[in-house]
């Protein structure tokens, strides 16, 4: 039995290439279609002239940044301290991080809507930043996993004791030792969170906020070529984000 990629292997990869390349190539080509036999940049000009696109994208970016901030403030320190002082709580943390997988996004929206159904919560549901609550839990499983892998690779107790014996306080140890060691996990989970939140549709559509994904869906109903252009651009943008993650990850390995 050979280790080379045989005929079967090439057939599998060829079919996979066709399946994955066609929708991308076709939507790129479709985005240049101007009706009849004419091709050009009409869809892109239309998008550039649309103020609603900028607004929707800006809202999504702000929501994504707010979600990252919430994760940095709430999750990162809690995980570090749990590993340091309360490893017995690990099963509870694992359980919480797995919950969003069992509770589908749409069910969480239904639950949050019911929980905050009273008049006194009107202010909360009117601000789009209400979305940061479900987005936090949407990103939680990925970010938890990435940070957990990063933290397991560190010997936190030794690092802390070494820092303390050198006279550092806890803030200095976390800021100067722990966080820099977690850099690639933090960069990776930040980019993943940005990608997940900017592409998120379920919560925003049901709660009636006009985010980027909701905007693409709306224009898709009447400007099909513009929607194809945005879909193609979204893929390229996600790819760039992933390449940054990969580069950040491999640089860490190279630095060892």
């Amino acid at each position: 039995m050979s280790n080379r990629l045989g005929l079967g292997g090439w057939v599998i990869l060829g079919l996979a290439f066709a399946f994955f390349a066609l929708p991308l190539g076709m939507s790129a080509a479709f985005s240049f279609w101007e009706g009849g036999d004419r091709y050009g940049f009409a869809a892109y000009r239309w998008l550039a002239a649309s103020p609603a696109l900028g607004e929707a994208l800006w809202l999504s970016v702000r929501l994504a940044l707010a979600t990252v901030a919430a994760l940095v403030v709430l999750l990162v320190p809690a995980m570090i301290f749990m590993n340091l002082y309360a490893p017995k709580l690990r099963p509870l943390f694992e359980f919480i991080a797995a919950l969003p997988f069992v509770i589908p996004a749409i069910a969480l929206v239904a639950g949050l809507t019911e929980l905050f159904s009273g008049e006194q919560w009107g202010w909360l549901k009117e601000t789009p930043f209400f979305l940061v609550i479900p987005y936090f839990f949407l990103a939680l499983p990925y970010v938890y996993r990435a940070l957990d892998v990063g933290l397991q690779a560190l010997d936190l107790t030794t690092l802390t004791e070494a820092g303390q014996s050198l006279g550092a306080d806890m803030g200095q140890i976390i800021g100067l030792v722990v966080l820099p060691s977690l850099r690639s996990a933090l960069v990776g989970s930040t980019l993943l969170t940005l990608a997940v939140v900017i592409g998120e549709f379920t919560f925003a559509n049901v709660l009636l906020f006009r985010t980027y994904a909701v905007f693409i869906n709306q224009i898709g109903q009447h400007e099909a070529t513009a929607a194809a252009a945005l879909s193609f651009a979204s893929f390229i943008a996600t790819w760039v984000a992933m390449l940054i993650v990969l580069v950040a990850g491999s640089r860490k390995q190279g630095g060892r």
């Binding site: 280790n3 079967g8 929708p23 002082y85 749409i106 639950g111 949050l112 019911e114 693409i216 869906n217």
Partner: protein
């Protein structure tokens, strides 16, 4: 002196999760079995109505089909790419592409497929000029079959990502040992390769099932709710598109959570069975 700060952060995380994740779920469960007049099973029993029952059937069909396609195709691709003789650039291209495509779900994905094999898509027209009429043959992008094709676009790469470490852990020496003992390629897979991979394949299938089962955006953008899935039915109730009580939405949500818990429990049990030999070894 430092510990109180630590407990503050740990407590804040657990508290936020309890209030915004656990409490809403408990509220759903309560809402599903109560109304103005008190406790009732009426709404859970309403799930037997054709409309909701069919939504569950559709969701299950779509999730099982796309997870199975994803597991089989993803494992085959990962296996082909990981052969030592495969060019390195190909390996890297597939890895980075998988990371992108696995996250390329939702509305953009739906529109990419509409532009390709929608009823006016470029590929549809191209095939028509060479005499293949996809829609005349009964295919529709806006059916369960069509949705399965679209979902495969993020399911297959997701499987490539999850299964790669398991395939890398298959030792070439096992294969050589099997061959020295006279086993054919098929026999190797039947008695060695697949049993070793079984727990990982199963875990991958569950992950894919869950991601398809809870997906909403792709289905909504493609079908505008024409094909009832559980997720789109819940959304219809929430946004007031249909004249049904909010309790129905809660009952459907509870139904989804029950399905996920059952699937997860089954997989835990199966994984334990499938990896029993590990402890014996």
């Amino acid at each position: 002196m430092k510990a109180p700060v630590a407990w503050l952060f740990i407590g804040a995380f657990i508290g936020v999760s309890a209030i915004f994740l656990v409490a809403p779920t408990v509220m759903l469960a309560i809402q599903a079995i109560s109304d103005d007049e008190g406790w009732t099973l009426e709404y859970l029993l309403d799930l037997q109505q054709y409309r909701y029952w069919v939504a569950f059937v559709h969701s299950m069909q779509l999730s099982v089909a796309s997870a199975t396609v994803g597991v089989v195709a993803g494992a085959l691709i990962a296996f082909a790419v990981l052969k030592p003789g495969t060019p390195r650039w190909l390996n890297q291209a597939v890895t980075s592409f998988s990371a992108v495509a696995a996250n390329f779900a939702g509305v953009p994905l739906a529109f990419a497929f509409v532009a390709t094999i929608g009823s006016l898509g470029l590929l549809t027209n191209l095939l028509k000029t060479i005499g293949i009429d996809l829609y005349g043959m009964g295919f529709s992008l806006f059916s369960i079959t069509g949705l399965t094709v679209v979902y495969s676009y993020f399911q297959i790469p997701l499987m490539v990502i999850v299964i790669t470490p398991a395939i890398q852990a298959l030792r070439p020496s096992w294969r050589e040992a099997a061959e020295n003992l006279g086993a054919s390629g098929l026999e190797y897979w039947r008695h060695v390769g697949l049993p070793v991979l079984a727990p990982s394949l199963l875990a991958g299938w569950i992950l894919l099932f869950g991601s398809a089962f809870s997906a909403y955006a792709t289905a909504y953008a493609l079908t505008s709710g024409n094909i009832g899935l559980v997720t789109t039915e819940i959304a219809n109730v929430l946004s007031g598109n249909v004249a049904s009580e909010p309790q129905i939405g809660a009952a459907l949500s509870v139904g989804m959570i029950v399905v996920m818990v059952v699937v997860l429990a089954l997989s835990t049990w199966l994984t334990r069975r499938a990896s029993r030999w590990v402890k014996q070894a």
